[in-house]
């Protein structure tokens, strides 16, 4: 394996070199506001799960056998773990992983946090470009771009760009797709 050729690696990495990524990293990162948005989503999720667990404590009688006891104590623990991960770790990790790029002939993204997904779609095969702004996104001034192709599985989604960046990207892609469009299937 020619890992690390021509590049100095930290000591721990030489001992246990990280396996090379299957594809290049796209050039640009998302808006920093995305961290705030993902944190807000984590808070919302934690509140919803917390309410569910509270409802369970209030409405289910405690003396209904060992499964209920198990849920009564495991539920809050799981909510706490979820809260710590979804608020403390996941937003930052996601921000570090998420990248995007529009090259001369393709749209390219990397998404995920634990599992990763690289998606590449050539401009010549773009069918439609959508910009969506969710309720929470509007609070943070963000928008998502979805690039659709003839394949139901070949959709590129660039989440959480600044709203005007998203609009410009979508316009640019739609115009270029129109110019180079071949059969698109």
């Amino acid at each position: 394996m020619q890992a690390g050729a021509g590049r100095a690696l930290p000591g721990w990495a030489v001992m246990n070199p990280p396996p090379p990524a299957p594809a290049r990293e796209p050039a640009w990162s998302l808006s920093r506001e995305a961290i705030g948005l993902w944190t807000a989503q984590g808070v919302l999720g934690t509140v919803v799960y917390g309410l569910l667990v509270t409802a369970f404590w209030v409405f289910v009688p405690a003396d209904a056998g060992w499964p209920v006891t198990l849920v009564r104590w495991a539920g809050p623990a799981l909510v706490v773990v979820y809260g710590v991960v979804a608020i403390g770790f996941r937003p930052r990790l996601r921000y570090r992983v998420h990248r995007w790029e529009v090259t001369a002939d393709a749209v390219y993204t990397l998404t995920g946090w634990l599992a990763r997904t690289w998606t590449l779609v050539p401009v010549s095969r773009i069918q439609t470009v959508d910009v969506t702004r969710g309720v929470v996104q509007q609070v943070f001034g963000l928008a998502s771009v979805a690039v659709l192709t003839a394949s139901s599985q070949g959709t590129v989604r660039i989440p959480h760009l600044e709203a005007d960046v998203a609009r410009r990207v979508a316009e640019d892609l739609a115009r270029r797709a129109e110019l180079v469009r071949d059969e698109a299937t």
Binding site: P19, A21, A23, L114, R116, T117, T119, Q127, G154, T185
Partner: protein, 491 residues
């Protein structure tokens, strides 16, 4: 504003009134309502009620069919097909001719009695492929159906070329027969899940009907008095005979006199005993093929072949090139459409490890859970079952790994996966509309990646599961075009 040469709307034959009434086409929707109302008010239990109900439903059905028929018309103009229909709100659908992807002429048994056919026009418009994409002209004479098909698919060459406004049928082009269903292939039918389901569904329906019948009309079977073992053996034997016979009959009915011919720029498939179907695929739109075979079919050396065609609704049925046949026939046929890129490359040892581990995990979980719960609840069968499953996981994982492979040739590429149903898909380079690389945490540690080729045909995506991460970008570039070089990691 109507252009000068606007075509006149044509009507379907009035015979469809009879056909739709006999088959309760429209009234079928009413039956549940009638049942609910009946249950609410209490139906008199007697033949009179049944007759009254039947008459009422028939009348309603006839009325409905008449209204629909009266309001329905279609017109095939020089550049588009227009279908007008709707009882209260008028709906006019206009489909440009260059959007039409396929035309299917089918002749169900009753239609054939009165010499009519049903024409399905497949008009894909991008993303959503569903029933709404289809125009159905139900109940035109056979000759009119053929004229319509020839007329709609006659348009070849650049859009906007002067059409033939008279709708004259072009002279028949020479045919070349590619396959013909051989009755000997019926012996594979009991090995195919889909055909086995036919007798099962039949038996299920029979039991449901028996359940619905009023008590006094049920046949009195009495209590069978045979000893337990004999009864069980007889029952199993009877079940096996029913399953085998049912699947063979089902397969024969669906694929009766299947023929695939090449006529000009199209592939034409004709098949069916009761309902005769006539499907036409444009060769220009074929992006690849898939040869698939279930476990039993592989043991018997059987396979099926289908074409992957862009924008084809109901692709699983319409794309079929060979519904069932010897593997060799399927391969020879498929390779005539798109070149086979050749021998597959195996996936790295890490893929074998991952496959075996994944196959063993359910058994191991059961074993662990059993080790805890067994002494507590006395479930001694749980750890035992877990151990057996975990051991069986090893050959299963190895078999799944053995199915994996991919390769890229000069004009096409291939991926293969699946154990229960193994699918070998070959696609043209131009078919790829995007690439998706997926890597889980385990895959990252093992240096593996799943590469999905997104295509606007067939299932929408075909994956090379667990290929070496270092090969992914090179494969994507070799299997599509220079644009995929964007993926290549910096040297």
């Amino acid at each position: 504003m109507s252009p000068p040469g606007e075509p006149v709307g044509r009507r379907t034959s009035a015979w469809v009134l009879v056909l739709h009434t006999v088959t309760f086409k429209q009234a079928r929707g009413l039956v549940p309502i009638v049942l609910v109302v009946g249950a609410g008010r209490g139906l008199g239990d007697g033949p009179a009620t049944v007759v009254a109900l039947a008459a009422g439903i028939t009348l309603l059905s006839l009325l409905w069919a008449a209204l629909s028929w009266w309001r329905f018309s279609y017109a095939d103009g020089p550049t588009s097909v227009v279908v007008t229909r709707g009882l209260l709100s008028r709906s006019v659908r206009t489909v440009p001719l260059d959007r039409i992807r396929g035309v299917e002429v089918e002749a169900p048994a009753l239609h054939r009695l009165v010499g009519l056919v049903r024409v399905r026009i497949d008009a894909a418009a991008g993303q959503t492929l569903g029933k709404e994409e289809e125009l159905v002209v139900d109940g035109v004479p056979r000759a009119e159906g053929d004229r319509l098909r020839a007329r709609l698919l006659a348009r070849r060459g650049p859009v906007g070329a002067p059409g033939d406004p008279d709708g004259a049928v072009p002279p028949p082009e020479p045919e070349e027969e590619l396959t013909r269903f051989d009755l000997r292939w019926l012996r594979y039918a009991p090995l195919v899940g889909g055909y086995l389901a036919v007798p099962l569904a039949g038996v299920g329906a029979l039991f449901r009907v028996l359940d619905e019948l009023p008590e006094r009309w049920r046949p009195d079977l009495g209590q069978p008095d045979v000893s337990g073992t004999t009864a069980l053996a007889l029952f199993l034997l009877a079940a096996a005979v029913v399953l085998v016979a049912g699947s063979v009959i089902g397969c024969a009915v669906v694929n009766w006199r299947f023929r695939l011919v090449r006529r000009g720029g199209s592939l034409v498939a004709v098949r069916g005993l009761v309902t005769r179907r006539h499907t036409e695929l444009e060769i220009d739109r074929i992006r690849g093929w898939a040869v698939s075979a279930g476990l039993g079919m592989r043991l018997a050396g059987a396979a099926r072949a289908s074409a992957l065609v862009t924008g084809l609704g109901d692709a699983a049925r319409r794309g079929q090139l060979l519904p069932l046949g010897p593997r060799q026939t399927a391969w020879t046929l498929a390779a005539r459409l798109v070149d086979d890129p050749g021998e597959l490359r195996r996936h790295p040892p890490a893929a074998r490890r991952r496959s075996v581990v994944r196959a063993c995990v359910p058994g191991l979980v059961a074993l662990l859970a059993g080790a805890v719960l067994g002494p507590l609840a006395g479930w001694w069968w749980l750890p035992a079952a877990g151990a057996v499953l975990a051991v069986l996981g090893v050959p299963l994982g190895l078999a799944r790994y053995a199915a994996l492979g991919h390769t890229a040739g000069p004009r096409s590429f291939a991926v293969r996966s699946g154990w229960l149903v193994q699918e070998h898909a070959v696609l043209q380079r131009r078919a790829v509309v995007g690439w998706q690389l997926r890597q889980s945490v385990v895959q990252r540690r093992g240096g593996l990646v799943t590469v999905l080729a997104c295509v606007g045909a067939g299932r929408g995506g075909y994956a090379a599961v667990d290929m070496a991460a270092a090969e992914a970008a090179g494969f994507a570039r070799a299997a599509s075009g220079p644009w995929a070089a964007t993926l290549e990691p910096p040297a």
